[in-house]
Subunit: 128 residues, 2 copies
DNA sequence: CTTGACCCTCCAGTGACTGGAAGGACTATC
DNA sequence: GATAGTCCTTCCAGTCACTGGAGGGTCAAG
């Protein structure tokens, strides 16, 4: 399989696939003309990576998860730990965004949004 | 005022303040020895920027907001538009994170987290 | 034999800082 | 006046996970 076939099948852009090779997440073969040749195992790994990225795991987390996936002697506790840590970060992030959301919603609601210059949004930013 | 005084008063690191000057958000004076000299108006702007950044506005949004703030003839509608667009982005982001959160919570709950290799998290990533 | 769609590598840019090196300036103490 | 310590400066590199583009080789169809 060539890179664009893999891109189609995994939903990952060719650029991203090349990048994943560059940082050592996959090691596709090469044909004589220099083109990358992807085995099923490469495609499988890329799909795995795509899904992990969709869940928001960092590339380093993905590397760890892939290593755990390939390690038949892994402990599920190790996987769970990675996922739990990530979940905690996501929940922190959600809380942070919700706090911004609450403030912004309030300010937007208070703002007349007309031709006049008076604006509670700017007043808030200016005075804290 | 020197940079570290301003950093203390605004809560922004000196590095960030220098960066804001570099990208043209502020234009502090210079004393003979080359040190930056911050007027009250600079400190005020930096505090404004700090609060806007806390609300998650991008630097370019901050630049726009600062310009609107300084424009006595602004229309509050323009400010409101910036804030509403940002709020929309935040709400998209929250929804995306909540979707990750839901999936991850489910997977983490299903995972035994013991010494055995069987792991629903990896199974999910491997098969979608 | 040319066209167009592939593929390759390498370099630069994104956003918003952050860390560190190398060196000048100021303040306090001896 | 020397020294130590803290401040200030600039400049360069790195972060994260790609993404865009230049410049050039390869392949299949007509």
């Amino acid at each position: 399989m060539n890179i664009s076939d893999v891109a189609r099948d995994t939903g990952l852009p060719p650029k991203t696939i090349r990048y994943y090779e560059e940082i050592g997440l996959i090691r596709p073969l090469r044909s004589e003309n220099g083109y990358r040749v992807f085995r099923d195992s490469d495609v499988h790994k890329l799909a795995f990576l795509g899904r992990a990225r969709t869940l928001g795991f960092s590339i380093e987390d993905c590397r760890t998860l892939l290593a755990l996936y390939e390690d038949q002697d892994r402990a599920s506790a190790d996987v769970k730990q990675v996922a739990q840590d990530h979940l905690d970060k996501i929940e922190d992030k959600i809380a942070q965004l919700q706090s911004m959301q609450a403030t912004l919603k309030h300010l937007v609601r208070e703002c007349a949004g007309d031709n006049r210059p008076d604006c509670p949004i700017l007043s808030d930013l200016a005075r804290g």
